[in-house]
């Protein structure tokens, strides 16, 4: 698990990476810089993932493979680790992070989890 997170946290601009249980919104594993509230990010990311999954099912688009939330002071990037979406690989990053690179490493981390 820690190897999977290493793939993500080594990208410049990433402030932390976590594996989150979608069902209960709890942190499974985390590598976070000081000041990031892992429990809060995990709970909110899992909640969002659940709502997003239902919205995408309703829209007939299938399951999500990657999502990115851009905020003023940072970004949240998420990849479900398996088709069932039981585990999320989550990255918390600086606003100007290389999104493509983080996405690639999140997908690799998700593959490493399966």
């Amino acid at each position: 698990m820690s190897k999977a997170l290493d793939l993500v946290t080594r990208v410049r601009g990433v402030r932390g990476a976590m594996l989150v249980s979608t069902e209960d919104g709890l942190v499974v594993a985390a590598q976070l810089m000081e000041g990031i509230k892992g429990g809060a990010v995990a709970a909110l990311a899992a909640s969002l993932a659940g709502r997003l999954r239902r919205a995408m099912e309703a829209a007939g688009t299938g399951t999500s493979v990657f999502w990115h939330l851009q905020a003023e002071q940072g970004a949240l990037l998420v990849v479900p680790a398996d088709a069932s979406g039981g585990i999320l690989v989550v990255a918390v990053a600086e606003p100007d992070v290389n999104i493509g690179l983080v996405r690639l490493e999140l997908l690799r981390a998700a593959e490493a989890m399966v």
Binding site: V20, S21, E23, D24, G25, L26, V27, G39, A40, A42, A43, L44, A46, S47, G50, R54
Partner: protein, 158 residues
């Protein structure tokens, strides 16, 4: 304010209303370890409040005794999760003594992580809102039934 959220002790109302909205929980009780209900949200029948409060108080008492037997501090929180519903029971200490919160949530709407996250805020808000220097009112056995009826009437807006 949710019409389903009611409080016997008015200082509990706003923190509880915020908790219900943010954590998306279905049912909540704020009670003392002896089972006296201070506030409720989501319950529609008095008998359900009485049963839930009695059972929650029993769990707090039994887990507290278990911790005592193990020479540990009382357990901070207890969580049970079923296929569709979860419940969360936790205690914290205020100036008015220990209070317990029982929250029931649907897994397709909320999660343990969310409930834990906003429970921490609820406990902090209730601690801050507790009337300072107030002594918990002792309910005498002779007054128990009247006190219980009054509380249930308040909790259900009668």
């Amino acid at each position: 304010m949710s019409p389903q959220t009611r409080a016997v002790e008015s200082w509990t109302l706003q923190p509880l209303t915020d908790f219900v909205r943010e954590a998306s929980v279905r049912l909540v009780l704020v009670l003392t370890p002896s089972g006296q209900v201070l506030a409720q949200s989501g319950f529609s029948r008095a008998v359900d409040v009485m049963s839930a409060a009695a059972l929650a108080a029993a769990i707090v008492a039994s887990t507290g005794e278990l911790a005592r037997q193990l020479r540990q501090q009382p357990f901070a929180a207890l969580s049970h999760q079923g296929p569709k519903t979860g419940f969360f029971l936790a205690t914290f200490v205020t100036d008015r003594g220990t209070l317990a919160v029982l929250a029931v949530y649907d897994l397709d709407v909320s999660s343990l992580g969310l409930v834990q996250l906003f429970y921490d805020q609820l406990a902090a808000d209730l601690k801050a809102a507790t009337p300072k220097g107030a002594v918990p009112k002792q309910v005498l056995a002779a007054d128990f039934e009247r006190e219980l009826t009054d509380s249930l009437n308040t909790l259900f807006g009668r």
